[in-house]
């Protein structure tokens, strides 16, 4: 199997703080990987390094066999990556519809745009809010919108940073189903999440980050059973 994404010795420090500290990581095409780890472990920073928002202080990122360490973020999106940030980054003054239009017109032909938007609205349960300004949405709906934008770009590699934080139980499950479906379509997905039920629902492989390093790596069951993982992260069960 060829890895779709691979990092070697990836490091990032801010001032003196070494936040990501030599991560070697690879994910194969079509895989769904959950990245977990304590608060401040460097998960979001890792994702931002992948999408290019931060420049690594050392190490490299390869995407589909190509070194993209020096490629600008928007070009990486063009290559087929897309991200949902931990904090929903929406355009407060634009309506939900406009958000989707913005995304959709980048990936489908002009005459298909409106059909595709309708499809997305239904898929993400946003039909009733389609004309609401995104700034006026409830927190959960903002998360939803953010996920829909990331998915709507039809990437090859989807990065989701805490997609279900703040989503109700039902919507969390719905998201899980969605991810499974996307996986079935062959999409490669990386998810950071603290909601263990969700992780169990979607994940097969788990990577645990801790202190900017890969702490544990392997099949879901095995990793979550480990005592050291429980100690640094899961707590008592």
């Amino acid at each position: 199997m060829i890895p779709i994404l691979e990092t070697k010795g990836l490091c990032k420090s801010f001032g003196g703080a070494q936040v990501v500290n030599g991560i070697d990581f690879r994910i194969n095409e079509g895989e769904t990987r959950c990245v977990i780890g304590p608060n401040g472990a460097g998960k979001s920073t890792f994702f931002k390094l992948l999408i290019g928002e931060h420049r690594p202080t050392a190490g490299s990122v390869r995407f589909q066999g190509r070194d993209i360490s020096n490629v600008l973020p928007f070009r990486r999106v063009g290559l087929g990556m897309s991200i949902k940030f931990q904090v929903p980054g929406i355009f407060p003054d634009l309506t939900v519809l406009e958000h989707l239009k913005l995304v959709v017109h980048r990936v489908v032909r002009p005459h298909e745009v409106s059909d595709e938007i309708d499809r997305m609205l239904n898929l993400f349960n946003l039909s009733s809010e389609s004309n609401v300004k995104a700034g006026n949405l409830s927190h959960g709906k903002k998360q939803w919108l953010e996920i829909s934008m990331a998915v709507g770009l039809r990437p090859k590699l989807l990065l989701l940073d805490e997609p279900v934080a703040g989503l109700s139980t039902e919507e969390t499950e719905h998201t899980g189903e969605l991810i499974k479906r996307l996986k079935a379509e062959g999409l490669t997905i990386m998810v950071v999440e603290h909601d263990m039920e969700f992780v169990r629902q979607v994940g097969t492989q788990v990577t645990v980050l801790h202190g900017g390093k890969v702490f544990a790596d392997g099949p879901l069951k095995e990793v979550l059973e480990r005592d050291d993982v429980a100690e640094i992260y899961l707590g008592k069960r």
């Binding site: 998960k43 805490e162 109700s168 039902e170 992260y233």
Partner: protein, 237 residues
Amino acid sequence: MMETPLLQVTDLQSGYAGSKVLNGVTLTLEKSEIVAIIGRNGVGKSTLLKTLIGILRTDSGAIELDGRDLSPLTPDVRAKAGLGYVPQGREIFPALTVEENLKVGLQMLASKGTTEMEMALSFFPVLRAKLRQKAGTMSGGEQQQLAIARVLVGKPRVLLLDEPSEGVQPSIVQSIAAKLVEISGSLGIGVLLVEQNMNMVEMAATRCCVMDKGKVVEHLTKQQLNDAELMRRHLAV
């Protein structure tokens, strides 16, 4: 003789310019009680808390703290009267350092608050290591912990928590829950806990209100909370 409850909310209505969200919420909160408020995304949970703290104007109804009507007061007066609010999305002051964020919380006290600060830091040890870091550069979960600590140092009598577990690692969620139980018990603090994380609700709440369409539609007892099947039905509404 009936004792006046700590916080009594009667038929509360409010909303945003042009759209009414709360359609008459009634609930009571006694001392040492932790009341969870659950419900699907967009039903008005955050709106309820925003109205209680006074960010949103009360259109009708009453909010009484120890029998004193708060509804005509501004948020700062309500805070001084004893309401402590942790908003959804953290809303820490990003350009202030962690220490300065805490100092803003400390100005509620007459004293210098050295012991309160110490208490908060020992409870959230990540913060101690990062006192001089700009709060905006902290990880999501760290920021959430800061937001909670910032209110706790001000020694509120009623805590209004809007999804405090969001983005926080499972083990710390557990300890926050335990701590809430402990301080509400020992100090007689009342807590209104808006949550999506059922683990947290189970661990901390003494009782639970289910909201839908701007109203409290159901009250659940501690026992009912532990009945997973029942919960599932309620949340799916």
